[in-house]
């Protein structure tokens, strides 16, 4: 089966049609954020401050790229482990965050919040940072510039490859995929 073309931000109708295990190619606008940016966003919310990006409807990519070489849009830019963002994620989903791209397991709280808020979690291929960088067409720092590779960047992507890991009904492809091939 071929990959599904999706444009970001992703509409609610499209999110509902996505099923765990679907291969997708993402095009459009996404934002980066990893550990330090999540911590700051969480502190901002606790202090009753506005977030530096309008998060409703958006997709966040968990990544901390290598420095760009002269002439490059971005350095190598594969996904980092999503679980480290779990603590901060339900609050962002409540504010309307619709998609996340990373790698690895999510907590039960995040899965419940994905179901409740009808969002989606994509897995990108960890360790394919050079290949993924080719799908990133522009990169611009939007907030927390002092965090360097951990700052929030706005990225324009074209056909960024990913797989639906947790769909809006809470189905988990890591479990389903494993069961099909498990013999021990």
């Amino acid at each position: 089966m071929g990959a599904i073309q999706l444009s970001c931000p992703i509409s609610d109708e499209e999110i509902r049609t996505l099923k765990a295990g679907d291969r997708v190619l993402l095009s459009g606008t996404i934002y980066t954020a990893r550990d330090a940016a999540h911590k700051r966003m969480s502190e901002a919310l606790q202090n009753g401050e506005e977030l530096p990006i309008q998060i409703a409807g958006q997709v966040i990519y968990y990544v901390g790229p290598t420095p760009a070489k002269p002439g490059q849009v971005i350095g190598s830019a594969g996904p980092t482990t999503s679980g480290r963002m779990d603590k901060y994620t339900p609050a962002l989903l409540e504010l309307g965050l619709k998609g996340m791209i990373g790698k690895g397991y999510r907590s039960d709280e995040v899965v419940e919040s994905i179901k409740k808020n009808k969002a989606v979690y994509f897995g990108a291929i960890g360790g394919s940072g050079a290949l993924i960088a080719r799908t990133i067409k522009s990169s611009e720092v939007i907030a927390y510039e002092d965090l360097g590779p951990e700052a929030i960047y706005k990225l324009e992507v074209k056909e960024f490859p990913a797989v639906v890991i947790i769909d809006s009904e809470g189905n988990d492809w890591y479990e389903i995929g494993k069961q099909q091939y498990q013999s021990y």
Binding site: T66, K69, S128
Partner: protein
């Protein structure tokens, strides 16, 4: 007595750091190709193909294959008839790392303080450096760029001698199961059995420096490596944990004598980007 200059070590280490991140070893690329022929999952095949393409781009464009360019881990075999002039060996290695990570546009992934997470210096140092004093007058430097995702899923347990080989196998399989997608499979599983608490962890790390496909010289251990490889690949975890028959590219075990009361087992997971380089001076 051979003499090696500080500056020579800096230059070689700088080059190794860059090559480790740009040029995936042929042993790993071959292991991807072999896995691709056997993999049953379509998504799994797709991932393996992308990893091969990614390694090609990194090599040809001189860019890091992964954005996590790792902590630089060194195992240094220092001949006792070899003399280093112009400065300290540890400083030379760290200076080489700093230079290599700067010049290669590699990410600096080290915080200075583990609790406050303070990051004052922009360098990817200090490195982890293990020195083994050996016979002869050579200096052999083995370098690994070790990623954080797989390191985080590594484990160590002091088993009871009565747990036996079954206990060892179960602990290893459980570690791989719990790691699932987080350690970026297909994995290279490094295992240290025996020694003591810290020695088992060192043995596990050291085993990862052996090229893929090289078995332990002891028959009973190489058989255990093969058996574990087969069982791990039956767990169904697959490439990136998305299901499939390729969960490990290799399993490596190192053993050492230990206390009559002990059975230490350490498991150091390596992601598929098994980045190792070696230089002999």
């Amino acid at each position: 007595m051979k003499t090696i200059k500080y500056e020579a070590i800096v230059e070689h280490v700088s080059k190794m750091c860059q090559e480790a991140n740009f040029d995936l070893g042929q042993d790993v690329v071959n292991a991807f190709q072999t896995a691709l022929k056997k993999e049953r999952s379509e998504t799994g095949k797709d991932i393996l193909e992308q990893l091969i393409a990614n390694a090609d781009i990194a090599k040809n464009e001189r860019v890091p294959m992964c954005q996590d360019t790792g902590v630089s881990v060194f195992i240094v075999e220092l001949g006792q008839d070899c003399h280093i002039t112009g400065g300290k060996l540890y400083d030379a290695i760290n200076e080489g790392v700093k230079k290599g990570y700067e010049e290669g546009y590699l990410r600096h992934s080290i915080v200075d303080h583990p609790i406050t997470r303070e990051k004052s210096k922009g360098y990817n140092t200090p490195s982890i450096i293990h020195v083994e004093l050996v016979e002869g007058d050579e200096l052999v430097i083995h370098m690994s760029a070790k990623g954080g995702g797989s390191e985080n899923m590594s484990t160590l347990k002091m088993l009871k001698p009565s747990d036996g080989v079954e206990g060892v196998k179960n602990f290893i399989l459980d570690t791989v199961k719990v790691a699932g997608p987080n350690a970026c499979p297909p994995l290279v599983v490094g295992i240290g059995v025996g020694g003591n608490f810290e020695r088992s962890a060192y043995l596990a790390k050291k085993s990862l420096f052996r090229p893929i496909g090289h078995r332990n010289e002891r028959t009973e251990i190489s058989e255990l490596e093969r058996e574990l490889m087969e069982k791990i690949n039956q767990l169904g975890i697959g490439p990136q944990g998305m299901g499939g028959s390729t969960t490990a590219l290799d399993v490596k075990i190192e053993i050492e004598p230990c206390h009559i009361a002990a059975l230490p087992v350490a498991i150091n997971l390596n992601c598929h980007a098994s980045r190792h380089k070696e230089i002999r001076l």
